[in-house]
Assembly symmetry: C2
Homo-oligomer: 420 residues x 2
């Protein structure tokens, strides 16, 4: 094939990236902008016919490779790709599966059979680990593969990143939900507790504070998994806010745990079980437990709880534009890096430039640096009492969610009372 | 006061509406557009200085009248009123309280003391009843009062109305939530059950079907309180959808009940209690119960449930434009009707013109016709099996929620399998 040879020569000796096919897949929990990354990568790949011949997608992550369930993304129109980019939740389907040694063997069988030389895996830290495992296996088998991870997670907990694609849109949902619920709570006062996603990292729950406009706006209390949760302290906090404002809106991460790291529902249920109480379970358990605690330990009448659930990660039509743009960029950057040839593996990390204007840069980091371990809310972003976020967090997060809806309030000048 | 006399004469004999002050209040569950109605009424009232002198608001519905907690809405700037109009949840605060005879006495004391001759109450059927009670009391006391109800409810269950302000925006939230969750469920297949608001009327749950684009899009099953819910039938339905599509998205009203009208959680828990099962309770109880039933009665592994909760009624930044426009109009119309003088009391009903183009008219109906009783989904809008809505419902509801986000899907042309 003289065509191939000519192309290889043309790119010069420094650029040692192979010529072959590309395979991309999505993994883990979907986000509102994960398809921006897919389309960013696919469109960039289609602009590189000298290196990348066919652009394939695997359905449902590595499961699609194991089952040889591949689709030809080279045959999608640009218009359709753009529609998909603007659509929430993994268009190629997703999976939660860590490849075993046997899986790796099968994966390489399929990659070889389809001459795949570029592999991209969009996901969180587990997906980065999968990419890392696949890359290690490629090295061992001396199979020339470019293996890149493209970041995604609403949890915002990937190391090496200032923030991750998907977080801005998830945070925007949480902020808008709390803006509305704060007004609802103000109209019909009482205690309202909202449970937000986040098992180990509190970023998404912290975003509940982004919609505050007036000094008395909620959430008035924010509890994150980064700080131990104390039931007595919580009841006291709520009582204090109600005494001051006549109402209280609470944001709490699903992952809050006691000093020993035991999730609150388990810890508290165990403690009170000896007193004959019924065990709480199910999707609303944490919210229900906290509502029960407020009712038992205070004299407040109206107490309600909601658990936000899956809506936070792929609500249709609610996207942070910055998030969408960056999700597109990390997909594109991953392909550029892989084709450039300087690195055989890596992940694209988002770094924020210093200064008052919000600007980001994309940097390649080794896979092992983002795989497995996660990061948490820095101490400086949580107040001393452990029941709110600081201004530093709000300054950090504001540019990521975009402009929030404008909220108004009546001036409400009192009418002089009659003598009736 | 010659000014007053001149004005009264100028309007002529046919128009017998009094000259005095106006009082407006909001009641019941907030909606995303309830302040459009408030601002529609206030701005119209401020254009009628010949009839209406001061424009007052009562804080937290009739509670604010009882406590003489009134604000001067004449002193709000137009710009601020417009900001408030675009803000979700009752800006004057809300209340759930039916006036007693004693309350009525006190209400008239306050109305008299402030020379209130125009009373407007924004709310659902309970609020219409309150307006009705106040109006009857005014007649008995020979107090010349114009008493009007302005419709509002996400439940869409007011009689005499084609639909109610607040429903379009609530339905838009539910439709967008299901669009995203359908894609989430498609990416990570399994059974997903979403519990939607609606104790007696299924309109909001039915709106879950509005976002379907492709033939296999969910919700695949829709259960409404208008039809008895059968647990065995439900499990069979879910199994059937999973057999066909490998996944199943379910929409269910919080108010589903068995043939005897007993709510499902109570009915089922009672039934299985004799077998030693733990009682389900709390905010997620119905979703958790249905998830448990699917797990017990089928062999499906991944089953999840969410309960949408309060987000449905006052999410910030998610509004149906048609809904906002109509909410504004009913507020304006109520003031026009009251000032025109032909009727001393009433509610503004939204009627839809026949024909393919969506058009509405606003009509005055007597208070007693919308008070207390509610309406339900017509039989023609529910399929025979009682587990889905019909095209007639979708045609009815589509204009009310506005254009939904565009959703794309990969063409996903399969790659020919290798011999690996």
């Amino acid at each position: 094939m003289p065509e191939k040879t000519r192309r290889q020569r043309a790119t010069g000796p420094r650029d040692a990236s192979p010529v072959g096919n590309l395979l991309i897949a999505q993994s883990g929990g979907p986000t509102a902008v994960i398809n921006q990354s897919l389309v960013g990568a696919v469109r960039e790949a289609r602009r590189r016919p000298g290196r990348i011949r066919a652009v394939y997608g695997a359905l449902h992550g590595i499961q699609g490779i194991l089952d040889e369930n591949l689709v030809d993304l080279g045959r999608e129109t640009e218009a359709n790709l753009e529609r998909v980019a603007a659509t929430p939740s993994s268009a190629l389907g997703s999976v939660r599966r860590k490849p075993t040694a046997e899986d790796c063997h099968r994966i390489f069988e399929v990659l070889r059979a389809h001459d795949v030389r570029y592999f991209f895996y969009i996901g969180g830290n587990d997906s980065a680990e999968t990419a890392h495992i696949v890359n290690e296996e490629a090295k061992r088998s001396r199979y020339d593969l470019r293996c890149f991870h493209i970041p995604k997670t609403i949890d915002n907990d990937l190391r090496e990143n200032d923030h991750t694609p998907g977080f801005g849109s998830g945070a925007r949902f949480v902020a808008c939900a709390f803006m509305g619920d704060n007004l609802d709570n103000r109209a019909l006062p009482g205690v309202k507790i909202n449970v937000v996603m986040g098992r180990h990292a509190g970023f998404l729950t912290a975003a509940s504070a982004l919609g505050r406009v007036y000094p008395d706006d909620g959430p008035h209390l924010v509890y994150l998994p980064e700080r131990p949760f104390d039931v007595e302290r919580f009841a006291k906090d709520v009582n204090g806010v109600v005494a001051r404002l006549g109402r209280c809106l609470v944001a709490v991460s699903e992952g809050v745990a006691d000093r020993k790291g035991v999730p609150i529902v388990a810890a508290y249920t165990k403690e009170v079980d000896s007193h004959g109480n019924v065990q709480l379970s199910g999707t609303g358990a944490l919210g229900d437990l906290l509502a029960t605690i407020v009712k038992e330990k205070t004299s407040i009448g109206r107490v309600r709880a909601d658990t936000f659930g899956y809506l936070q990660r792929s609500f249709a039509g609610l996207v942070s534009e910055v998030d969408a743009r960056e999700a597109r960029a990390v997909g594109r950057e991953a392909v550029r890096l892989a084709v450039a040839g300087a690195f055989k593996e890596g992940s694209v990390a988002i770094r924020r430039a210093r200064g008052s204007r919000y600007r980001v840069a994309y940097e390649r980091v080794p896979l092992r640096k983002v795989a497995r371990e996660t990061r948490h809310m820095p101490a400086a972003w949580i107040n001393k009492a452990g029941n709110d976020v600081t201004k530093a967090f709000l300054d950090y997060a504001r540019p990521l969610v975009g402009k929030l809806p404008l909220i108004g309030r009546l001036n409400a000048r009192p009418v002089r009372p009659s003598r009736a």
